[in-house]
Symmetry: C2
Subunit: 215 residues, 2 copies
């Protein structure tokens, strides 16, 4: 049974991106600190075509779990462009994700700019969706079949998904840092959402909290 998942790193003060986020700096000021827990992990490095990394950390299990049974992703434009700036006119703008991106399934990019789909090695396809979040989600659900659909990020896509009330599982990687301002994960979501904790994993650099959304 397909579930819609959101898996995202957040600061202790509730920000999923720092201030002044842009296409050039998609995580905003200080936002890279949110992901310090993950970038040194063997599981993360391997998925991104790099060798080495910490293989003993329990955080590796979290990384593996985040991609297990995912049949398609919905991704925001800033995360896709990854800091490479405006990419509409640059056919190599997805170079940031490499020749063999870590998704290995269809990825639907939220954007206002039409572009032909891009097929990569290893099963990843990038499809550009210009008619909104719901359309992207619909296409991702169709592509995923019986598997799950994940909101890949970044901040705006995560907020859109929560506001739309469609997310069923939320995993927060709580990084012990403060960003002071930026994009709040639950901004505009309202106060009716209740989450039921289903699992906690304590990593050396972040606490991983898994919640099921209750309606």
């Amino acid at each position: 049974m397909t579930r819609l998942k959101l898996d995202i790193s957040t600061s202790l003060d509730g920000y999923i991106a720092g201030p002044d986020a842009s296409l050039q700096d998609p995580l905003g000021k200080g936002g890279e600190r949110l992901h310090e827990w993950v970038v040194g992990l063997e599981g993360f490095r391997k998925a991104h075509g790099m060798e080495g990394g910490d293989s003993a950390s329990p955080d590796n299990e979290i990384v593996a779990e985040a991609t297990r049974d995912i049949g398609a992703y919905v991704m925001g434009r800033k995360m896709f462009s990854g800091g490479s700036g405006p990419w509409e006119s640059d056919p190599n703008a997805d170079a940031w994700w490499g020749d063999n991106p870590p998704f290995h399934v269809p990825v639907f990019i939220l954007t206002h700019h039409e572009r032909e789909p891009v097929e990569k090695a290893g099963g990843t396809t990038f499809t550009f969706v210009t008619d909104g979040f719901e359309s992207a989600l619909e296409q991702a659900l169709a592509a995923a079949g019986d598997k799950d659909v994940a909101i890949a990020g970044g901040a705006e896509a995560a907020q859109q998904a929560l506001r739309a009330g469609v997310v069923e599982d939320v995993t927060l990687h709580l990084a012990p840092v403060l960003l002071g301002s930026g994009a709040s994960l639950f901004d505009g979501v309202g106060t009716d959402l209740t989450l039921r904790l289903t699992n906690v994993l304590e990593g050396p650099h972040a606490t991983h909290l898994e919640y099921a959304v209750e309606r």
Copy 2:
């Protein structure tokens, strides 16, 4: 060795009180949801002179731990008045805490209004401090001797303590609710504070995260 501790409930969106907090409604709109995890516990009820409650929950241990080795508290005026409204002219305004308040040590109340100290049964004294947070903290440290000092709350006292950079241990009781707006625990604290997770306890209604502040 005395440590300065802050132990507080926070929503998933980072609020320690809801919007429109006042002397009459110190937790703000929806703020009572932050404490749903604690009010039904045997440990909490017993400390507040009530019988019954859930004795099997691991949360009881958290409540016991929060008061262990505390030699004095600093408390904000709204928390002291507890929704009973302005109390400066009402000699019974501390009635909300009962004849035998759950502190059993000196409590220093931050206020702009002078008032004679109040001595209660069971070792609790309420001392009213009109010359600011640092003075209250100094008096609490002196009263605590070798024991620890805790910021009892509410939201403003917690924020003041964090902004002053004096808190050494932070325990967050992360309630799986959203308040939408209100008082953010880390508001105005800046981004230099880093916290090191020292313990996690998963309760049925909240996740308890213990951090040591790193300087």
